[in-house]
Symmetry: C2
Subunit: 654 residues, 2 copies
């Protein structure tokens, strides 16, 4: 392995434990950490529990971009808490309204050649700058901030060669939608996707952010781009040219997996409800009436994205049937949008501007009207994520979104040439952008003097008991493929304010799938000491929220039995002491039904030895079926799991 690809270079330069063999657990030195508010309150409580003196990473930033709607005291209290905690532990603090974490981080802190972990699944977006950036559960980020290595199974590296030239009306979003069309939402599981080839020069740094960001939707561990002259141009435009270093794949390097996209062949694409993997050409669904268009989010955050939308709607009015919602990425981008007339042109066309933040992307406002189609440039369209139960969220490029806002119908942007006699507007990147750092509060020196400001909704974490040797507990839920964390523990304006209050938020566990879950789980906790749930492929895909493990644990979840797991969720389960079991024979999935009881014997011993774990299924009719399950935990993880999770592990170490 003398000739290395970019991924291998990044890993090799940060490898502390393990070997770079796909499937083996490796430990990586972490340079940067990113927290957002919806997961960050828990991380800060964990840092408090760990008794951390001061962050040991080069850069750690607490952003506030999720919980911006203050419909009562809770979110405002959280913002105060996060500021005090950031100051207490030596983190940067990005104030509410300063912007969406990933693009702000890229613009102000990202550095080629560095590693980053973030308590947000889209942290992989920083791969756009030649970083190894991994979204993960909050506890893993807390550990990294405390100076611990980050552990992950060495992924396979999939090289995706880009060739040719991007057609008019097609942009970066269509590239990643094409990847989703080909590989679906679990096509990237266990993989790092590295883009290379001549086609790269068609993609600006922020275009690469779009693609790297939605690598999360492919289930990839992360996405990596090289750091090249375009990366340098970008950093220079951010007045940070000195932070640039070149990071290119060695000529003749190899990839374990291969794919290729000929850019010339791309057409405008759209993901239909209710999965980002449900991708078809826009032309296939053109003409359907829509009620809403939303432009923004970490999946299309760049100045170009807003500019191209503004150029399309300039001097026209959007359809009166459409709410044309714009989420400006950051305060900095607002200043640039004002400067280059994007802001004014959008307003004039009928845009409804919102705060700089995630907003509707996390269901914090912007819920569409009942049963109507919403077109969004966002990364996800899982069921009910928008806040409207019968939502029909479609994901697309800013070009498709803006074209559709004009016509009131899903519209292939290429049709604008005929409809409005329009040429494809092409953005010229400014040499220097207006820079705004005024709402980034720097870490302070005397950080230990700071007291945490905890409002009444901020609750310390309960103790999690260690793993028992035997269980007989009911199967409370049997789920199918690709269940998302949005279904396990929904986001949205109602639930997000409880992210710092475990007893309250646990009441929302699995409510999207089954509203009776909480009551049934509390009963099972009393009567049987807990429960299990069963799932098929890719359990708990989507966001990194560890509440999707911690809340079920609080309700007594002993184990999940699934065909396989999304990466972050699998780590989160272990971190909070839930057994992530896998069927040895996948067909055994059909043998378990909701309402069965399952019996587990000698669990601790089996987990330690790595032997298969026998599961006895007790049916209603006293029939018993025995099946085999396994786990794929590292020795380190086994120790954590047996102790009841990483918090107990930390407490023991201190």
């Amino acid at each position: 392995m003398s000739k290395l690809n970019v991924t291998q270079k990044l890993i090799k330069s940060h490898l502390i434990e393990g070997e770079m063999k796909p499937g083996e657990e490796i430990g990586l030195k972490i340079d940067q950490a990113l927290l957002q508010d919806a997961t960050g309150t828990l991380v800060q409580l964990e840092l408090e529990a760990m008794g951390l003196d001061r962050a040991k990473t080069e850069v750690a930033v607490q952003y506030v971009d999720h919980n911006l709607l203050q419909t009562d005291f809770k979110n405002a209290d959280d913002h105060k808490f996060l500021k005090s905690a950031a100051q207490r532990f030596g983190l940067w603090f990005s104030r509410p309204g300063n912007g969406v974490s990933h693009p702000v981080h890229m613009e102000r802190f990202g550095k080629p050649g560095k590693t980053l972990v973030g308590s947000d699944s889209h942290s992989c977006a920083a791969g756009s700058l030649g970083m190894l950036a991994i979204g993960t559960g909050g506890l893993d980020v807390a550990a990294a901030i405390a100076g611990q290595p980050y552990f992950v199974k060495m992924p396979q590296v999939m090289g995706v060669k880009l060739t040719g030239k991007m057609p008019d009306w097609v942009s970066a979003k269509d590239v990643v939608l094409e990847m989703l069309r080909r590989h679906d939402v679990k096509g990237g599981v266990g993989k790092i996707i590295e883009y290379y080839g001549d086609g790269l020069k068609e993609l600006s740094a922020m275009d690469r952010h779009v693609i790297a960001n939605m690598g999360a939707e492919l289930g990839a561990t992360t996405t990596v781009f090289p750091s090249d002259e375009e990366t340098r141009r970008f950093l220079k435009s951010q007045d940070r040219e000195e932070d640039w270093t070149e990071l290119l794949a060695d000529e003749g390097c190899e990839y374990e997996l291969h794919d290729e996209i000929v850019l010339d062949d791309l057409v405008p694409l759209i993901a239909l409800p209710t999965s980002p993997g449900n991708v078809v050409p826009v032309s296939e669904v053109a003409g359907k009436e829509i009620s809403q268009v939303v432009i923004g989010s970490s999946a299309n955050p760049g100045l170009r994205d807003f500019w191209v939308a503004s150029a399309i709607v300039k001097d026209k009015s959007v359809s009166p049937e459409v709410s044309f919602d714009i989420n400006p990425t950051s305060r900095q981008i607002m200043q640039n949008m004002i400067d280059n007339k994007t802001f004014g042109n959008l307003i004039k066309s009928g845009a409804r501007f919102h705060q700089s933040g995630c907003m509707g992307c996390i269901g914090m406002g912007q819920a569409p009207a009942s049963g109507t189609i919403s077109l969004r440039t966002m990364p996800r369209n899982f069921p009910d994520r928008s806040g409207t139960k019968d939502d029909q969220v479609h994901l697309c490029s800013p070009e498709t979104a803006a074209a559709s806002a004009l016509t009131g119908k899903i519209t292939d942007p290429r049709d604008l040439e005929e409809l409005y006699d329009m040429k494809y507007p092409k953005f010229e990147y400014p040499t220097y952008e207006i820079i705004n750092t005024d709402m980034l509060v720097a870490p302070i020196d005397n950080n230990k003097d700071i007291e945490l400001e905890k409002g009444p909704n901020i609750k310390t974490l309960p103790h999690i008991p260690k793993l028992q040797s035997e269980y007989r507990v009911p199967v409370l839920l049997k789920m199918g493929d690709n269940v998302s964390t949005d279904e396990i523990l929904k986001a949205g304006a109602e639930v997000l304010p409880y992210r710092s209050n475990l007893p309250e938020i646990s009441k929302y566990s699995y409510t999207v799938i089954d509203e009776s879950f909480y009551d049934r789980a509390m009963k099972a906790k009393d009567s049987h000491g807990g429960h299990v749930v069963v799932a098929a492929e890719n359990y708990a895909q989507g966001s990194s929220r560890e509440h999707a493990a911690l809340a079920p644990k609080y309700l007594g979840q002993v184990a999940v039995i699934a065909k396989n797991y999304a990466r972050i969720a699998w780590q989160n389960l272990v971190n909070f002491g839930i057994l992530p079991l896998e069927f040895v024979n996948e067909s055994d999935y059909d043998k378990i039904e909701q309402g069965d009881e399952i019996e587990l014997k000698d669990v601790v011993e089996s987990v330690k030895t790595g032997d298969n774990i026998k599961v006895i299924i007790h049916k209603d009719n006293d029939k018993k079926i025995e099946i085999e399950t396994k786990h794929t935990l590292s020795d380190r993880q086994i120790q954590i799991l047996i102790k009841g999770g990483i918090i107990n592990d930390f407490k023991e170490k201190l």
Copy 2:
């Protein structure tokens, strides 16, 4: 009465019924109608129930400015419903995000010499242009739209003479706060306040809007300014000079009541929690730490207001302890703010921009952190209106707000001269403002073809039974002075989405005062067929929401017994068939306690004859006390009340 003041001229030119004697009911021809969304859904349902063909007013506009946070389908569904209803009944529709109703109406539709009713208590703001503009319950507005006269007791006219010159750092908000300091929240009840004198030339048209708007907080029927050369300048700047007519008081005209403000004597003022009447000089409370500043709302909507704040914070950063929230009034003002650098300067200083609308003023977001001080340029600070139970909302001018945002403490803006070596920034009004009408959807010709789009949360109104002759019902609540409609039926992000769903919203009746009210009322409805409540002075001050009458009615409210009533609320009670009784001897208020039962006999007969109405109070110990109550209803209102309210009256007429 040959020499008339402006108020008398406006009334005289629109008088259809009655005589212009204070206290007599008069009927006025209404030229314009204003609806906002939180009250408008009900009004549109009423127009539907009335079977209206098409609006008969010269101009009627349905605004959407209250329910802008779409945390689920309900608000978005309401927006679609309101658009369909506006088109159906021949109204203008101001799309969500287009802006706050009162300033947008003033800029685009207001005309000197015209009358207006609006289903929002701050509709009086249009008095700034020389209009007679009255906030009232939705049913009254529906009736006006249907071509009916508007009925109101002829108020007394209080002439307020303005003299002298406005000192630096003092602005229009301080003028109306001075009025509130002198007269408190019921000082304007039964009065129209007319400003005159040389001091008027110190006030721009939009400054007058500030003062007229918060006339609502004085309890005034409305506020009236003349239409003079400044009015002309304003309309010209809005490209509407042709809509200007002069309307001045006759020289030597008289006022029934008198007050005078010497502008030179004014100092920056602030209203302390939890009443707009709780006014002291800013200097008295300077130095207290704050967590939030909010600039915007119909009480400080003008370009000058934002500009002066931006000039104060320009090239500085607001305190890191302060959330500096800006609610731009309208899309039009955003374009002007971009044009004159206000927007950029605010953003740069740390501002957090929100949608154009009422936002935190109606508790739709922006709730402050627990137990912290929020400074707002808004009109109201009633308890819990912000969404935070232990809120400490203070009301002040943009100058005071911006100064305090910089220091993180309540700050007298005059201190900026020393603190920052700053001169008072003075705004130059542009000859022409940028005009934006793109999100105002005009009425259509073929309006009868339009179908109403009703989402699942939009419920038709239930039947209200007619007045019985006898009642024996419990006193469910005994309240004190100045109970606001925010306490009777709170606004805020949780409750507002139910404005079109009576059964749901009624669950929030009086919860701010007593959380058990709904359950107790439902029980009393079953066991006794209803209930009464008792209050002291100025019952149901504040907003015009008719839900504060309709929801208690739905729960069986037979009567309110109070010392006296806020004007709009009193009308709303009658409109929905609730008896608004007044103590003949105010000291009898002390004789009734919560938990007593009251007996009413021969009610219908007594109401008709105008005789006093006997109330027998049954105490727990079988003791009986008899007291006398009365009503001050007009014959027209008596008819309505007996029928069970105005809807039944309309149904009968059709």
